[in-house]
Structure formats: structure tokens, C-alpha cells
């Protein structure tokens, strides 16, 4: 079953400084299946985050359609929970209050939403921190909460916007492994924006490689690495390096193309 379908997406905007109309997204189409982990990669400034913001309903597209579970998307909604790079947790709510926020908006009774929030908090490794406030958590733990807050809502697709980019390298490895573990356990549908090639290959079932702006889908790479995955074994597989090198080459060609255009 297709969870998310993007068809002929384009986005133009007017540059605030020059006043010129700029095409950020040329023509992007792809689908994400239910229970699939799909990453999107591309040269910096290619508009990967814009794609995510359009899917989330935060930004309006110039043309094209976004369909989630067969329905066309017009604005933000709980079927598309977002994990932000900046975490975007509510500082005035406890860890439990943050995790239960979506269920409260849905009108789930207090007892039930607390039980479900606790379940997801322990799934991401935050059991025992329910009464803390976000600022009392480390960056890595804050992002665990960001993931739990979305998953507890059981969205049709979880959108993740470079969620580990602002976290130190060591913690990032751990978070990537734990995200994989949670994914393999619960099989949510995930759409993941990143600029880290290894991260994309390690986490994903498929990787969408975008071209430079105006971006189009350059290639969709299928990652057929076995699950369950963990960082040590998976990254040492010859297939892992092969895939990573191939994507590096695809992105490298992009940069070479740029150099040619510039010259």
C-alpha cells in the first residue's frame, strides 16, 4: 500500500533580495509505501527541506499534489507528524505532557493517553524521565522525545527533518541505531531528510537522490541491506560501501555539473 504519493511537485518563490522568481523544486515525484523508510538526499540548498515542509503542509506548493492515504493534503495535520532539527519541544510541558500532546488534541481520555505516552517514552528509552522538563534533558534525549511525541500519534507518515544534524557524532550513532530498532519493531512509515550519506544508507529502504536546483529526482536507490541492522556490522558490509559510494558519485556528478555550468 502506498502511504505517501508526491506527484509533479514544483515550488517557485520570489527572492526577497533580487526580486527574481526562483524555481526551487523543478519536478519531483515519488511514493513511499506503508512501513517503508525513505530518505531524501541532495546537494545543499536543493530544497529537500522544502519538499518536507510541503508534505507537512507548512508551505504551499506552486504545482503538483501530495496524497496521504489517498487524500490530498492541504494543510498541517496529525497524519503527518514532524520531527524537527531544533526538536521544537514545548518547554512549558513535562516530558509526559509533550509526549501526550497529540492524543490530548485528539480528545483521548487522560488515563489512556498517559498509558500510551508512557509506552512510547519507554520505547525510545525515556522511561523514568516523565516528570522532567525538556530543558533538563540532553540534546539526544530531547530528540528521542521528539520521536516519541510523533509516534504516539500513530501518523500515516513520520516526517523527519535532519533530526540528528545538531547532535554530537557519538550520540548521533546511538540515536540512528535506536531509531532503526524502533523502526524494525513498529514499522512506521518514515520520510527522512538528511545530508549525511552514511546515515541515509544505514537507515533507509530507499534513498531518493535529488539534483541541484531546480531539483528533480536524479535517482532512487534501493537499499537491500538485511535487517535488523546495527552500525558495526551493517556499515562493514561490502554492499553498504558500494551503495554509499554510488550515492557519493551521484552527488559528485551534481557538483561537477555545477562547476561546468559556472564555467
Amino acid at each position: 500500500m502506498t502511504a505517501l504519493e508526491i506527484r509533479d511537485l514544483t515550488k517557485n518563490y520570489v527572492d526577497a533580495y533580487t526580486g527574481d522568481e526562483v524555481t526551487a523544486i523543478g519536478d519531483v515525484s515519488f511514493t513511499v509505501d506503508e512501513g517503508e523508510f525513505v530518505s531524501i538526499l541532495g546537494p545543499s540548498g536543493c530544497g529537500k527541506t522544502t519538499v518536507l515542509n510541503i508534505i507537512a503542509g507548512f508551505v504551499e506548493q506552486t504545482a503538483g499534489t501530495v496524497t496521504v492515504g489517498g487524500d490530498e493534503v492541504t494543510g498541517p495535520g496529525p497524519d503527518r507528524g514532524v520531527v524537527f532539527q531544533s526538536h521544537a519541544l514545548f518547554p512549558w510541558k513535562t516530558v509526559l505532557g509533550n509526549a501526550a500532546f497529540g492524543l490530548r488534541m485528539k480528545g483521548v481520555p487522560a488515563k489512556e493517553r498517559e498509558a500510551r505516552a508512557r509506552e512510547y517514552l519507554s520505547l525510545v528509552g525515556l522511561a523514568g524521565f516523565e516528570r522532567k522538563y525538556p530543558h533538563e534533558l540532553s540534546g539526544g534525549m530531547q530528540q528521542r522525545l521528539g520521536v516519541a511525541r510523533v509516534l504516539v500519534n500513530e501518523p500515516a507518515v513520520m516526517l523527519m527533518d535532519e533530526p540528528f544534524a545538531s547532535i554530537d557524532a557519538q550520540t548521533r550513532r546511538k540515536l540512528q541505531e535506536d531509531l532503526t530498532r524502533v523502526f524494525e519493531l513498529r514499522r512506521p512509515t518514515v520520510f527522512f531528510v538528511t545530508h549525511d550519506i552514511d546515515e541515509a544508507v544505514f537507515l533507509s529502504d530507499r534513498v531518493i537522490v535529488l539534483s541541484h536546483r531546480p531539483s528533480v529526482v536524479r535517482e532512487i536507490v534501493t537499499v537491500d541491506l538485511p535487517r535488523p541492522r546495527d552500525w558495526r556490522t551493517t556499515t562493514e558490509l561490502p554492499a553498504f560501501r558500494r551503495l554509499a559510494n554510488r550515492i557519493t558519485a551521484l552527488l559528485g556528478e551534481e557538483e561537477a555539473d555545477d562547476a561546468r555550468t559556472a564555467a
Binding site: 498541517p76 496529525p78 514532524v82 519541544l89 518547554p91 512549558w92 500532546f101 497529540g102 488534541m105
Partner: protein, 281 residues
Amino acid sequence: MTTTGARPGHAKINPMRRLRRWLGDNAVVRTLGPFVPLLLFWWLLAESNAFPDAFFVGPDTVLGEFGDLIRKGILPGYLSDSITRLLYGVGFGLLIGLPLGFLVASSFWARRLTWPLLLFFQAIADIAWLPIVIVWFGFSLTAVTFVIVYTIVFPLILAVVAGVEQVPTELVRAARSLGAGRFRVFVEVIVPGALPSVASGIRTGLGYGWRALIAAEIIVGTSGVGFMMFDARRVGDVSEVFLGMIVLGVLWYAVDALVLAPFERVTVERWGMVRQVEAGR
């Protein structure tokens, strides 16, 4: 873990350091300590007879005056008059300023249309309204309340607008993508997100309101601390003027320490939204 024997590290703390720590931790010392040298200086200045008694009196005289006015019931009466006026003014000020602030902040057009007006009216000093207010309402509680409300409302509106603008877009987006509609976003995100700025707006507003009250009492006055001070000046009683000034300071300090600071401690400080002001914690 074995815990027999003396705890090392505890016995060896040098007594001076322990005294310093005790002084630093003690709330009374921390609150009143800085006033001790000030009082001492005041007392020495008065004792030196550098100024005649008609201009400058010492703390002992003021303390005597304080006891006297308490006994006669004048100070408690005036004080409760002043506080009642302030409460009325602040109450109405908050009631008008908060909703208006959120209204102005919530819409781009409302902000566009009202901003010049807000800046214009904020620029007219509160006291500058007194002549016309007295014409309209006479020497009454209404006149004083009007001036206080006026003083509080504008800084409050500006603080609310600034607070709403400070709420990160991502928090609003997060709430929306978790199923919150526009009203829930307002209640759950905009209002608490604006609170740090709103709290400091209330603090500023109260401070201005307090000053406006005293000024209004001096001019409109039939009772109150401001009236007491001005009346004392008329009959040449300097000690009562001094007393009035001290009462104003103590009262403001009390409002800040008993109402505003605890409110901020359980909200914005608890949430990690401001750095704690007090050092050494």
C-alpha cells in the same frame, strides 16, 4: 556503600568559608544585607549635623514617626487607600491590556493599523492626562484609576506583541502537525510561549502604575501615601516625607518578592525559558 566514620571533606571546611556560605544562603541576610551600610551611612550623615533638621532627619526620627503614624492609624489608612487604588488600576489594566495585546498580536492587519496609535498614546505621559481626567471625573478614585490603567495598558500591549512574535514558528508548526487547530495553538503554544515577555511586561507595567499612582495622589490627593508626603511637605514635616519614600520602596520590594518573582519562578524559570536572574544558584 559503607558510611561509617566521619565524612571526609565536611570537617575540613574552613570556618570563614562556612560563614560566607551561610550568609549567602540566608534569605534574610541576602534581602536586607545590602541595606545595612546604606542605613549606617544615612545615620552617620544625620548625626554629623551637616544639614539642619528641617531638611534632613536620621533613621531614628523616621522610625519614631513611623510608630506615631501607625498608632494614630493614619499610615495604615493611607496605605490601604493607595493599595486599593493600585489594585483597581492593575486589575482593569490587565483585563484590558492582555486581551488587547493578544488581539493586536494575532493579526498582521490589526498590528499594522494599531501600531502608530499605540506608539502615539504611549508617548503621552500618564501625568499629562491628569488635567483632562480631573475635568472629566473630578478628584475621585475613577480619575486615579484611569491614570493607572492608562499607564499599565500600553507597556503591557507592547510586551504581549513582542512575546507573541518571539514564539518560534517551529513550535506552532509542531503543534499543528500534532493535531492542534488554531484555537488550541493559541492556548497551548502562543500564550505560554509569550509568557516570559508578558511577565516582564506586567512587571514594567506595575512599576509604572505604582509611580503614576503616587504622582496622581500628589495632584488629585485627598488621601494615600503620595498625598501624605505632599501634605507633610506643606507643613514642613521632613520626617514624614522620608517615611513616605521608604514605604514606597518597601512596598514595591514586597510586591516584587512576594508576587512577581514567585510567579516567574514556577513558570518561565521552571521551564528553562529565562536564565535565572539571581546569581550563585
